[in-house]
Structure formats: structure tokens, C-alpha cells
């Protein structure tokens, strides 16, 4: 539950303060955004403008409306592709692996965006090939120790994305 008034975090104050948190965050961002500079494109779905099916709330091909795409930085991890089949070993397909992003919460706040379940993300694999993913876990819940810096405050989100087919999304 969000509070109307801010409550200062004073835990670990003997060893770790807000300044330390900001300093560590700055170091991390410098490494991720400056050194690694892994850039992705976020296609946020405009849920209000998109016409959906009256019964099933589905959308057809090319019917999703998007906000303007935004570039953002994140730590990218792509799993190995899976060799699968639609039917008992026939109609085989090579499923690209899931995309796992680690993105600083502070970075998203700077850009004034949120990554939500169902949004699409483009990751340029090569100069002329971009692969699209859809967010299957937006990592909004960051209450666990992993996402908290020394138990002080959450500082990043882990976002899981699954590959999107052309029938779902093929870029804007």
C-alpha cells in the first residue's frame, strides 16, 4: 500500500545510508549505461486506444495501439533457444529463448515510464535484425532480498519476456 507521506528509511544507518545507496546506484548505472550500454526499445501498449474483442478481449493482427517507443538500458540475458514441436514431434519450431532484463528502478523513473505485463520490447540482435519479445513477468514486486541493496531498498527489477510471433507483433 502506497502512503501519502514519505517515511525515511533508517535501517542499517550505522553502516549504510541513503547517500551510500545513491552512490552504489550511480556506480552501477555508470557501468550498465556507460560501459555496457545495452539498449532496448520499449513498446508500451496503449490499452485505452486499442480496440479489443468484446467477449474475449483479444486483438487481431496489427490492431494493438502503442505509445511512442522509448529506448532504455538494461542488463540483458537471453536463454538458449528451445527445439520444440507443435504436435508430437511434427511441425517443429525453434523457439527463441526467453529474454530476462535487469533494469534499474531509478532509470525507469528518470524516463518516466513503466514496463508492464503485455508490453513489447525490441532487442536489436544485429545491425539489421531486431527480435521482439512480450513481457510475461514485469517484475513489479521487488520485496525480496535479491532486489534490495543489502536489505536497504529495492533498486532494480527483473523482467522476463517471451518471444513474440509476427502474428502478435512485428514492430511499429
Amino acid at each position: 500500500m502506497y502512503m501519502s507521506k514519505k517515511l525515511p528509511i533508517t535501517r542499517l544507518s550505522k553502516f549504510f545510508s541513503n547517500e551510500d545507496f545513491d552512490f552504489n546506484l550511480q556506480l552501477g548505472k555508470e557501468y550498465l549505461h556507460g560501459d555496457l550500454n545495452m539498449t532496448l526499445v520499449l513498446y508500451r501498449v496503449d490499452t485505452e486506444s486499442t480496440d479489443t474483442d468484446a467477449v474475449y478481449a483479444e486483438v487481431g493482427k496489427d490492431q494493438i495501439k502503442f505509445f511512442p517507443p522509448i529506448e532504455f538500458n538494461a542488463l540483458v540475458k537471453i536463454e538458449q533457444p528451445k527445439n520444440s514441436s507443435y504436435k508430437n514431434g511434427t511441425v517443429r519450431y525453434l523457439e527463441p529463448g526467453n529474454l530476462t532484463l535487469s533494469v534499474y528502478i531509478d532509470h525507469l523513473q528518470d524516463l518516466g515510464i513503466d514496463i508492464r505485463y503485455g508490453d513489447f520490447i525490441g532487442y536489436p540482435e544485429t545491425e539489421d535484425k531486431i527480435r521482439y519479445y512480450t513481457v510475461s513477468n514485469d517484475g513489479r514486486v521487488t520485496s525480496d532480498n535479491t532486489h534490495n541493496m543489502f536489505g536497504f531498498k529495492p533498486y532494480y527489477r527483473t523482467i522476463t519476456c517471451v518471444p513474440a510471433q509476427e502474428a502478435e507483433f512485428r514492430g511499429v
Binding site: 507443435y86 504436435k87 508430437n88 511434427t90 511441425v91 517443429r92 525453434l94 510471433q165
Partner: protein, 410 residues
């Protein structure tokens, strides 16, 4: 405007009925060039199922038709790949949605009700009696075929898509088609029933993976095998159409002057009325015709059309007259005997001057076909002899000045 009151000539059912319909069905299964039905084997049934799906399960989605993989998919990777590349994405994966027909490899013994009571040992049964005629022989062939082998083939028609509405449309089409649980496909003119066995949803439900629907419709095709290798064609009763040309003479004889050349002498006894005499075979070369040993002149005393079997006299020979026809059956002027020697015919004439009864021919005589004195045929051994290779000696003495004609082979 009211409805017409008269009900005459209203044909409720537009197609053929009863026997005509049966004949129509029979015509369909024997469209080939034989009287027997074509083979119906596994691949024909598979093709029938595939055609059925293509014709009946057409679904529109997002303004386009959901592609149906045009072949039955097997485990061969190459075959599968070639059949999906029309709607593949950049990774070579088939794009959704699509419909696939997959056959279970195991074909089970059939449950088609019309073939339940089978007779063991693959006995042959009468299928048709087909009349035959080869120009001489008229008969019939009996066509027998064994009872078709009933088989059940299970197919899974799968739709893979991302929209619930596509599933609904496909389901609606299938259930409407199979409202009575079965439908029919046509395989080489045979109606083959297809039964909707089961519908199941195999949609993978995982949170962190791509989302799509997979629904399987299991159909059982109640087919049967007809193998033309098992057909039997046996001749039945044959009637031989024989035409005999009867010679109107009670005393017909035939002998060979020289068997290795088949120079024949046919002898008839005239009845006083008959003018036409037939030797019963084509006369290639007619050497002579005589009545009571007297040689007759062609186109004066008789007529003969070349390469026919008949002699037609201008006037009928007298009753009991002996008519003799000497001819060669072959159709060439070059005689080749059965030993391969080329023989030729020569006719020479001599005049008896009273000095010698021996006459010398130009060529070495192989055999004498005929010898006449003033037109009267003489018999070898009785009236003359071949005394040496080129010499003929008469046994009797003719009148001085008589003309002696000899026709011989050399």
C-alpha cells in the same frame, strides 16, 4: 400471386434413384479403362482425408485464410520443412495460425459396418462378366475380386492459433460438418465414411513461454483396401465362330505334286449343273484347269480372279466329268522349297515328228507339274517318264505333228 396448385411433374429428388443411382456409383468407381475398380490403398485414403480437410475446414482469420499444410506430415524432417515454408517466419518456424493433418502410423483392423462379416482365406468373388470378341472367338471373361479389407486410419487435425475466435470458427465448422458424427469423403469414386472420434485441447499452459492454442480433432476414417494385384480374370465359356466354305461336290480330292512346294492338284466330279469350283484356299498361281484331262483355256473356257479360291466355267462341265485344278498356294512367283532352294517354273513345247519319243528340256527337271499332248493331260509314270535330268520319254506314241507341252520346276 398464389402458389401453383398442380403437383404434376414435380421432381423432389434431383439426382438419380434406385438402379440408376447404383449404376452411377458403379460408373464412378470404374472410370479407368478397365472394367475393374482401381486400387484403393493407404495413400489413396490419406489423400481422400487430406482433400476432405482442404475442402471443408476453411477458416478465415484476420482477413486471410488459415493455411492448411498441404500434405500429411510424417517424421521426415525434410518433408515437414518443405510443407511449412510457405508460411514460415524469419527463423523458419511456421507462423501461426495454421492447420495440420497428421496420420497415426498404425492402421488398425477396420470397423466399417459394411465389411464386418468377412470370409476367411481371401476368397475371390464374382465381380463382372465381360463379353469378349477377338474377331473369331466370342466368349466372356469372369472378373473376380476378393472382399475388400476393412481398415481404420486415425487422423489428427490440429489447429494452432493465438485467437480464441479462430478456435470457435474451426470448432463450429467441424461440428456442423459432423453433426451426425460422421461425414464422407470420396476416394476413387467410393464413398468412405469419416467419424469424429474426439476433440481435445493440447494448449501448453506455461506462464513464461509463448502463448498459443493447440486443439486436436481426432477422426477415424473407416476405409477399405482394394488391391488390383489380387484381381482375377478368367475366361468363361467361349464360342468359336467357324465359317466353312462347302464345296458343292461329293468327290473332292486333293493331292500334292511336290510336298515341299505344296503344288496342289484338286480334283472334282462335276454334277452337270455346277459352274463354280473352289479349292478352299487361295490359289497363288494357277497352272492349269482340265476337264477329263483336257486342258481348258483361261478366259475362254473358264474365269479365275487371281488370288481367289474359285474357278468359274463358262458352261457347267458334264455330269461325272473329272475337273482338275493344279495350283500353287503361295503368293510369290519365286518358289522356295522347304529346304531353301529357289525353284523356277518353265513351260516348253515340242512337236512330235515321229523320230523319237524322248524330248530334251532346256533346264534340269526337278519335277513335272503337267504334260499334255494336244491339250490332253498325261500322267507321270503311266504316260511318260523323266528318263534323265533333262529328258522326258513318252510311253505311248502320239500322232505325228502333235504338240507336247511340259510345265516343270527346275
Amino acid at each position: 400471386m398464389g402458389y401453383p396448385k398442380r403437383k404434376n411433374n414435380v421432381k423432389v429428388y434431383q439426382g438419380n434413384e434406385l438402379v440408376e443411382r447404383r449404376q452411377e456409383l458403379l460408373d464412378k468407381i470404374t472410370q479407368g479403362d478397365s472394367f475393374l475398380p482401381d486400387s484403393v490403398l493407404h495413400d489413396d485414403l490419406d489423400l481422400g482425408m487430406l482433400d476432405f480437410v482442404k475442402q471443408n475446414f476453411s477458416v478465415l482469420s484476420d482477413g486471410g485464410q488459415v493455411p492448411i499444410i498441404p500434405k500429411i506430415l510424417t517424421i521426415q524432417r525434410w518433408g515437414e520443412f518443405t510443407n511449412t515454408w510457405d508460411f514460415a517466419d524469419l527463423d523458419g518456424n511456421p507462423s501461426l495460425p495454421f492447420i495440420a493433418v497428421i496420420r497415426r502410423p498404425d492402421v488398425q483392423p477396420g470397423t466399417n459396418p459394411s465389411l464386418q462379416r468377412t470370409i476367411p482365406d481371401r476368397q475371390q468373388f464374382h465381380y463382372a462378366t465381360v463379353p469378349t470378341w477377338n474377331g473369331t472367338q466370342m466368349g466372356a471373361d469372369i472378373y473376380k475380386i476378393p472382399q475388400p479389407v476393412a481398415i481404420d486410419i486415425t487422423y489428427e487435425v490440429s489447429i494452432v492459433c493465438t485467437k480464441f475466435r479462430d478456435l470457435n470458427k474451426f470448432n463450429q465448422i467441424v461440428l456442423q460438418k459432423f453433426s451426425s458424427r460422421q461425414a464422407y469423403t470420396t476416394v476413387k469414386g467410393h464413398y468412405v465414411p469419416i467419424v469424429l472420434d474426439n476433440i481435445e485441447d493440447n494448449t501448453p499452459v506455461e506462464l513464461d513461454s509463448r502463448r498459443f492454442y493447440v486443439q486436436n480433432y481426432r477422426f477415424v476414417l473407416l476405409g477399405f483396401l482394394i488391391d488390383d494385384q489380387e484381381f482375377e480374370v478368367k475366361p468363361a465359356v467361349s464360342r468359336l465362330f467357324l465359317m466353312n466354305e462347302f464345296i458343292q461336290s461329293n468327290n473332292y480330292e486333293k493331292k500334292y505334286l511336290t510336298k515341299n512346294l505344296e503344288i496342289s492338284v484338286a480334283t472334282f466330279t462335276a454334277d452337270g449343273l455346277q459352274t463354280v469350283f473352289s479349292v478352299g484356299e487361295t490359289m497363288g498361281i494357277l497352272f492349269n484347269v482340265s476337264i477329263n484331262g483336257l486342258v481348258q483355256e483361261r478366259d475362254i473356257d473358264f474365269y479365275h480372279v487371281a488370288l481367289t479360291s474359285k474357278i468359274t466355267f463358262v458352261e457347267p462341265p458334264r455330269e461325272n466329268a473329272k475337273v482338275t485344278i493344279t495350283y500353287y498356294k503361295g503368293r510369290s512367283s519365286v518358289f522356295v522349297d522347304s529346304e531353301g532352294n529357289v525353284r523356277q517354273v518353265s513351260t516348253e513345247y515340242f512337236t512330235y515328228d515321229g523320230s523319237s519319243l524322248s524330248f530334251t528340256t532346256i533346264n534340269n527337271i526337278d519335277s513335272v507339274i503337267s504334260l499334255d499332248i494336244n491339250g490332253l493331260l498325261q500322267e507321270e509314270g503311266e504316260d511318260f517318264d523323266i528318263s534323265s535330268g533333262t529328258e522326258i520319254t513318252l510311253k505311248g506314241t502320239p500322232r505325228i505333228g502333235a504338240r507336247i507341252g511340259v510345265t516343270y520346276l527346275f
